[in-house]
Amino acid sequence: MSRGSGSGARGPGAGGRGPQSGISQARSIPAFKSLTAGPGPLTPIFLLLATVLLPVLVTAQVPARSVDEQVVMEIAAQLRCVVCQNLSVADSPSETANQMRAIIRERLATGETPEQVKAYFVEKYGEWILLAPPRRGFNLLVWTLPFVGLFAGLVFLFFVARRWSRGTKTASEPVDREALERVRRELTELEP
């Protein structure tokens, strides 16, 4: 999004932005005035200082570090795309994810470690931002419960299977021929 140059932006309708540009000027708002940087007598000096000092400061604070794009993607893959449903920042094509990747890249370029970059996002969003919950506290349930469930299921299956095999054994036990014959005989006797 490009904006009009600083000098022309204060005039009404500057940059052809229509009626909106004049709105905040139309009302005299004391509070708002304090946060707007109007061109004062010090502005040229400040601008000069800024143009001279800014590149120096930037190069001094941010050593030119080449950022490994793979590291960016590795971090992005662990972060939740905040505007998506169950997508990582690495997988999402959304503009937000794109901006988050840019932030990761930028922070790595200033010399932060991948852990520090992740910690930054956690600080802002909470652990929710991490796709894999950290293995501690209540989260441990998520990590252990599937295995506990699997184990319990196996134990259950073992007992059930044992009972089944026992049951079939009793069922296949040979019936006493003599007794069977007697049941048949008595049943026929019962018939009218």
Binding site: S24, A31, F32, T36, V83, Q99, M100, Y125, A179
Partner: protein, 194 residues
């Protein structure tokens, strides 16, 4: 008659009652923790994500407003700031709250409360159309790099932060701001000392 029939079984047919009673209790008891977990899961709103920023200093930022002015949060220290993240495509929530924010700004501005709008993931054209539609007069600025939204842990629009006079984030409201919420928090924070 039938009582005469005797099948010569060496063992009694009913198995040992010990394990059977054990199972009878174990299965319902195994269901209890699962139910507790489900109850916990379903009673929490997956969309209500607690912000870790409450009670922390509001991250400072500088943005250029749509009308070309510089907005700097640092310069607003001593005032109550209602920081609203919105987008023109955020319908209907952002459309519902826009009149509330504008009304709040007009009413409370004299008393030392500032409403700031940050437009995220938007085009300038659509954003200006939105501003005109609601004749918004409080300062609004786009966040072209998304950095301010990430600084505030914004995951959707609209989200509104109430910042006290000392520059602390005191409340995060997700979804359209209603007049009672606006009033409650602005009044409360205005009463506090800087």
């Amino acid at each position: 008659m039938f009582s005469e029939i005797e099948t010569p079984h060496p063992e009694p047919r009913t198995p040992d009652p010990g394990p059977r009673t054990w199972w009878r209790w174990a299965i319902p008891f195994a269901v209890v923790p699962v139910l507790v977990l489900l109850a916990y899961g379903f009673s929490t709103d997956p969309r209500a994500i607690p912000s870790p920023l409450i009670g922390k200093p509001a991250p400072l930022f500088k943005l250029q407003s749509f009308d070309g002015n510089q907005i700097s949060l640092a310069e607003l220290r001593g005032k109550v700031v209602v920081l609203n993240f919105w987008a023109s495509w955020c319908y209907p929530a952002c459309y519902e709250e826009a009149p509330v924010l504008e009304g709040g700004w007009r009413e409370y501005e004299r008393r030392g409360a500032i409403v700031l709008g940050v437009d995220i993931q938007d085009t300038q054209e659509a954003a200006l159309k939105f501003i005109n539609r609601f004749t918004l007069t409080f300062p609004n600025a786009p966040d072209p790099t998304g950095k301010v939204s990430v600084e505030y842990g914004v995951y959707g629009v609209p989200e509104t932060f109430f910042i006290d006079r000392r520059g602390m984030i005191r409340k995060k409201h997700v979804g359209a701001v209603t007049e009672p919420v606006f009033r409650e928090w602005v009044e409360k924070l205005l009463k506090e000392d800087a």
